[in-house]
Amino acid sequence: MQKVTTVKSKAMPLPMKDVDTDLIIPAQFLTSISKDGYGANLFRRMRDNDANFPMNRQEFDGATILVTDSNFGCGSSREHAVWALTGAGFKVVIAKSFSDIFYNNSAKNALLLAVLPADVVDQILQSAKNADYEVTVDLESQTVTLPDGTAHKFEYDQFRKHCMLNGLDDIEYIRSHAADIQEFRNRQEQKRFMSTRGA
């Protein structure tokens, strides 16, 4: 996984609640067996149906910070939604809240999610409309700094933070507990009533 550090970029506003992963990347575009290429169809339905959608506006080119309302990423567990965002260049999403699975998936792909209070998010959504609102997000200090210099702190799990800052993924951590896992499975074998063998 790539390391996450400080991201400075104009913010792209998506003032919508409950943006589901079908909206982020429609199922018709999920037939690839790689992690690449999804960025081209990020928010495909909205891009096709709305000429004013921010991604269709040149002034938002190069934005790597997306700002949106609450419950972003609800619905399908498709990690392709995260791959579509990172594939299109996004490094940070700021919102009032995120759905659980999307939140987990993002942390596995160096996409930093920052939850800020509703009034702050509303302020950013409003200010960012003209594509000239530059925001700085720093994981180390867990802050989002606005153009006027005000810094807003966001919560971030310290274990996840360590992984993101150092580009570590879960597999090696879990494998470092291999002996515990083996012991657990040996113990569990006595109460094991299921095997898929022979299916």
Partner: protein, 481 residues
């Protein structure tokens, strides 16, 4: 206005060592918990399908990691597969590659794979229970959010992304944080023409699409105890639609009876021991939950969605909410949704013309669902303006339909009975509702473009779908059942 009385009462004041079912399953699967770290959490079964697994195989192969335990994995193909008769030939090159990739990966890694015409292929959440691999007290994951379906058996079952699919392949474990818990009580009894689907849609409507974020739901109450396993699966299946991490139901005699004799259920000599173990997975009477909600079914009526998320739903006698009564950001969502679904505030849904009807999916594609649909369709005709797809959830369901004579009923009514798969629920294959067309659907999501670009979806029970297919417009099934 609603038939459901809700009360949300945080009741977290633990006094004893009493545990709820979620806590019991959690505790039984903690491999290692270090201070300040997430838990190394054991997963008993992972289900695989073609869309969310290829990149996980690539990851473990790139690191030369062996699959941890193939006897805890089970794979099938369902999402991007065709539902026409000659489905072995997949025209779409990317979908074909995806299916072949899973087939090859399973062979290479010795993972049981349920292929076309094995008699066992089907939607991953339909085949797990059918084969008896879904059992009480287990932890189950799949790269699919509707994995919560398996919670019907008293398993802790949840959807994960492809990275986590790789973690389980590699280690049999995930890094997890303990979820919060929520108790949902369904009390009272269903009226005629009202089903488990209506109950879960009502819950989602009450608490909203993010209402259970971060929580695992336990469904309790007399109505839940009276439900068949298939009805329980419908309820648990849609837990994710209110944001729940998972939803589950404590096992009972109904559960054990369903499991007994299934291919992968415990053998006779282990049966009593298994049942004794499974029975330990229930909430202690003194146990508590972080949140609780009660839904009264006595006055519940058939529910249909009007918007672009499953919470935007009303009973058929109710009206779409008046926009000015909604709070600000709910109103913005509703305005956008109504624009998309071409409906108006304060209108009722009954009588709205539909051009498509879909019965199927991991929510409502099981034999009991198809029997209900056949009962409605028997001796009647699908309206000439409606194209109706009936897609069995699995080859086993399809076979059962053939044996019970349901296939003839569907065909005589003018419905298209197709081969098993996810089909028009997410429209990854050719089964798409055309742009601008309106579909009444037994599936689980009415998101923008879910059933095809610019298609409009109304979620409902299989009976409501069948009644509407006959009428050519949204209609209560009450007079047909």
């Amino acid at each position: 206005m609603s038939a459901a009385a809700t009360k949300k009462a945080p009741e977290k004041a633990k006094k004893s060592t009493a545990k709820n079912i979620v806590e019991k399953i959690w505790d039984a699967h903690v491999v290692k918990q270090l201070e300040g770290h997430p838990c190394v959490f054991a997963i008993d079964l992972m289900l695989l399908h073609e869309v969310t697994s290829a990149q996980a195989f690539q990851l473990i192969e790139s690191r030369n990691i062996q699959v941890f335990d193939p006897s805890r994995l089970l794979a099938t193909i369902d999402h991007s597969t065709p539902t026409r008769q000659n489905r072995w030939e997949i025209y779409d090159e990317a979908a074909r590659t995806q299916v072949e990739t899973l087939r090859n990966n399973c062979k290479k890694h010795n993972i049981p794979f349920l292929d076309f015409d094995s008699g066992k292929q089907g939607i991953v959440h339909v085949v797990g229970p059918e084969l008896g691999v879904t059992q009480p007290g287990m932890t189950i994951v799949c790269g699919d959010s509707h994995t919560s379906t398996h919670g019907a058996f008293g398993a802790l079952a949840f959807g994960v992304g492809t990275s986590e699919v790789a973690h389980v392949m590699a280690t049999g474990c995930l890094l997890q944080k303990k979820p919060q818990t929520m108790k949902v009580e369904f009390k009272g009894h269903f009226r005629k023409g009202v089903y488990a689907k209506d109950a879960i849609l009502r819950l989602i409507g009450e608490i909203g699409v993010g209402g259970a974020n971060g929580h695992v739901i336990e469904y309790v109450g007399e109505a839940v105890r009276a439900m068949s396993m298939e009805e329980r699966m419908t309820v648990c299946n849609m837990s994710i639609e209110c944001g729940a991490r998972a939803g589950l139901i404590a096992p009972d005699e109904v559960t054990f009876k369903y499991l007994k004799g299934r291919a992968h259920a415990p053998a006779a000599e282990n049966w009593d021991e298994a049942v004794a173990y499974w029975s330990s997975f229930c909430s202690d009477s003194e146990s508590t939950f972080d949140k609780s909600v009660t839904i009264d079914l006595d006055k519940l009526e058939p529910i249909v969605t009007w918007g672009t998320n499953p919470a935007q739903n009303v009973g058929l006698s109710e009206r779409i909410p008046k926009l000015e009564t909604l709070v600000d950001n709910e109103r913005a969502v509703a305005v956008r949704a109504l624009e998309y679904t071409k409906l108006k505030e304060q209108q009722t849904l009954e009588g709205t013309p539909v051009e498509w009807a879909f019965v199927g999916s991991c929510t409502n594609g099981r034999i009991e669902d198809l029997r209900i649909v056949a009962n409605v369709l028997k001796g009647r005709k699908v309206n000439q303006n409606v194209t109706m797809y009936v897609v069995p959830g699995s080859e086993a369901v399809m076979k059962q339909c053939q044996e019970e004579g349901l296939v003839e009923i569907f065909r005589e009514a003018g419905a298209d009975f197709r081969m098993p798969g996810c089909s028009m629920c997410l429209a990854m294959n050719d089964d798409q509702v055309p742009p601008g067309k309106r579909c009444i659907s037994s599936s689980n999501r009415n998101f923008v473009g879910r059933q095809g670009p610019d298609s409009i979806t109304h979620l409902a029970s299989p009976a409501t779908v069948a009644a509407s297919a006959i009428a050519g417009c949204i209609k209560s099934p009450a007079e047909y059942v």
